[in-house]
């Protein structure tokens, strides 16, 4: 337990120092250390990014709040030794963070590289299919807090569909991705409540 705590401290402080130094540089770090450490690092990363992508938008704020909640719970589960659950919650929070990021991108008027109309149509179709699974994932998660996420996913899909009809490619693309990310978050939440047989650890 002490050993775990020590590693946590190191894991939390080091990335904060490094991120301050390497801002703006996208560099994939090689994950090191045991799974718990890596997860702790990831939680921190997600938290930081969440702070970066904050958008003054009601819907986005709601997603941000949910992401923060799930990150906090991930930390608690990790501290409690529930690694799979912590991973799931972290991934859910990560997906919600990406959703918020896409909301932010939808306001970026300088972006021009949007997919063709045909690709957008195919994307919408995929997103619609994923949306059909949202309710199932929420039920599997047994998390009543996640019900508003199902609603949010549907609303953003509707927005994407309306933007597509108006030929607003930026909004259509970004809102489609928002909807997908929310469903992905729900899927991770469903995973969280699924017992997994952990592989034996090598000692």
């Amino acid at each position: 337990m002490k050993r775990l705590a020590a590693f946590l401290v190191v894991a939390l402080i080091a990335p904060a120092f490094v991120s301050g130094q390497n801002k703006g540089v996208k560099k994939k770090k090689k994950e090191e250390g045991p799974p718990e450490v890596r997860l702790a690092q990831r939680i921190e990363k997600v938290r930081n990014r969440l702070a970066e992508v904050a958008v003054p938008d009601n819907a986005a704020s709601s997603l941000e709040a949910s992401a923060s909640q799930y990150l906090g719970e991930a930390e608690r589960r990790l501290a409690g030794g529930q690694l799979p659950a912590a991973e799931g919650l972290t991934q859910a929070a990560d997906a919600l963070t990406r959703a918020v990021d896409h909301i932010r991108h939808s306001r970026d008027v300088n972006r021009t590289d949007y997919p063709s109309r045909q690709e957008q149509a195919a994307h919408l179709e995929r997103a619609y299919f994923r949306l059909q699974q949202a309710g199932y994932f929420q039920a599997q998660s047994k998390d009543p807090r996640a019900k508003h996420l199902v609603q949010a996913a549907r609303q953003f899909y509707q927005k994407a569909r309306q933007a597509y009809d108006r030929r607003e490619s930026r909004d259509a693309d970004e809102f489609t991705k928002v909807s997908e990310e929310i469903v992905k978050a729900l899927e991770h939440l469903a995973h969280t409540s699924t017992p997994v047989r952990e592989p034996p650890r090598l000692k």
Binding site: P84, R126, F129, Q132, Q133, Y136, F137, Q140, E187, A190, H191, T194, P195, V196, R197
Partner: protein
């Protein structure tokens, strides 16, 4: 043999109807079973299409997930099961009655049956079909896709599996089709159909037979109606059972004709008998005259004073006998009428002369009168003489002693002979039966005379009737002016 069969046409018809009924019942059974089989094929075909489409979509969606998400293949089995259930739920929602999932690494994953009545209860692969699904999944690894149709009692299960090389994942879908080939129910349906067909056929056959009987009976009735007027008519003799009846009627008509012919002959014999009695006295008179003249001549020759006038008397009496014999020969029976256009008076006079002596003995006066000039007609002399003799003898015999008989010849478009006697008119209830065979108001009468007389006159184209408008008994003979048949 053909005639024997034709004579039993209705029986053969019924046998054929029974055989046809059985054949049609059998045909109905085949047709209905074929239709049922066809319907089963359609239902199974629809199930196969649905299952094939579902499994294609399941496979495509799983492949799409694997392509879109880098960590898809690394997911833990339990987590992959949850994710795949989400996919199955979303896909199979559009395929009513179809359940399915995935087979990977010898494990069933992602099972869902969203259109089930209680989808929450359907969480596991159906145990009864799991082996079939497993086997089909293994088969699909070799040939990319596999399909099986498993038949049970009254239902079939259609299973389709699609293997995806890239993900090493086999998507499977299954649909149950019930209400098929339930042997007992099918047999019941077939029997019912056969019975209905047989009942309908029997009804039609009965109606057809009744119509045939109706036609046959109607034909016989029409034939009988014609026979009443024309004895030469014959009812058509068909080859069926009704033809036997027609044949029997025709034979009866032939026998009746022969009987009537015999009766007419008897009547003529009776008339001749009556005539013989009447003219016996006539024969005796000339014989007596001849005897007297011969005795006188013998005496004269003995005295050597023969008188030729005695021989003249004998010759005269012989002539008188010869005329009597000629009258007898006129009653030639069974010969067809020999028609000739001739005056009526001589024939009437001859008939009167034949009965004159009998009438005289009874004190009955016979008078003959012709009005409106000479009346001629077409007739057979002998037959008309027979009829007149019959009427005259009836008139004489009906009066006892005293009285008169009047014979009038005349007519307009038709030649007429009226025979009236001084006796009272015949009562109305006897008038109706006057011309009936064997009817007679005389104690020893055979009742043939008037019936045969009328028949003879009608054969010559005329008619014999009783005149109901006279105070006395009066019979009227009408003869055609032209030749009968012209």
């Amino acid at each position: 043999m053909w005639k024997t069969l034709a004579g039993r046409r209705m029986q053969m018809q019924l046998v054929l109807i029974c055989i046809t009924g059985l054949l049609i019942a059998a045909l109905s059974v085949f047709l209905i079973s074929d239709a049922v089989r066809g319907a089963e094929q359609i239902v199974l075909g629809d199930a196969v299409k649905a299952v094939d489409a579902a499994v294609e979509e399941l496979s495509a969606q799983e492949a799409d997930r694997a392509e879109q998400e880098a960590d898809w293949n690394g997911l833990a089995l339990e987590l992959k099961d949850v994710s795949l259930r989400g996919v199955s739920q979303a896909v199979l929602r559009s395929y009513p009655g179809v359940e399915g999932g995935y087979w990977w690494n010898s494990e069933f994953l992602g099972y869902a049956f969203p259109t089930h009545i209680n989808p929450e209860q359907k969480t596991d692969v159906p145990a009864a079909e799991s082996n079939e699904i497993r086997a089909a999944a293994e088969e699909s690894r070799r040939i990319a896709s596999a399909r099986r149709i498993v038949r049970g009692s009254g239902e079939a299960v259609v299973i389709a599996v699609r293997y995806h090389d890239n993900t090493d994942m086999a998507a499977w879908a299954m649909k149950r089709v019930s209400g098929l080939g339930d042997a007992r129910q099918q047999r019941r349906r077939l029997w019912l159909a056969a019975l209905v067909s047989a009942a309908l056929l029997s009804l039609m056959a009965t109606l057809a037979t009744a119509a045939g009987l109706e036609r046959g009976v109607s034909r016989i009735k029409q034939g009988l109606a014609v026979l009443e007027r024309d004895y030469q008519h014959r009812i058509p003799e068909t080859l069926d059972e009704l033809g036997h009846i027609a044949r029997a009627i025709n034979q009866m008509v032939v026998r009746r004709e022969a009987l009537e012919k015999e009766l007419r002959r008897e009547d003529r014999l009776r008339a001749m008998g009556r005539l013989v009695a009447a003219v016996a006295h006539e024969v005796r008179n000339p014989l007596n005259g001849m005897r007297l003249a011969a005795q006188l001549l013998k005496k004269q020759m003995a005295q050597d004073r023969p008188d030729g006038r005695q021989l003249d008397s004998i010759i005269s009496e012989i002539d008188r006998l010869e005329a009597l014999v000629r009258e007898f020969l006129a009653f030639d029976s069974d010969r067809p009428p020999s028609m000739a256009f001739q005056p009526l008076r001589p024939t009437v006079a001859r008939a009167v002369k034949l009965v004159d002596s009998q009438a005289a003995r009874l004190g009955i006066t016979i008078t003959m009168d012709e009005q409106g000039g000479e009346a001629s007609a077409c007739f057979d002399e002998g037959h008309l003489t027979q009829v007149l003799l019959n009427l005259l003898l009836n008139a004489i015999e009906s009066q006892g002693s005293g009285g008169w008989v009047r014979v009038e010849i005349g007519g307009g478009n038709r030649a007429e002979i009226r025979v009236t006697d001084s006796g009272p008119a015949i009562p109305p209830d006897e008038q109706e039966r006057l011309f009936e065979m064997f009817y007679s108001n005389k104690p020893n009468g055979a009742g043939l005379g008037l019936a045969v007389s009328r028949e003879l006159i009608r054969q010559m184209g005329g008619d014999l009737t009783y005149d109901t408008h006279q105070e006395n008994a009066s019979f009227l003979v009408r003869m055609p002016r032209a030749n009968h048949g012209e």
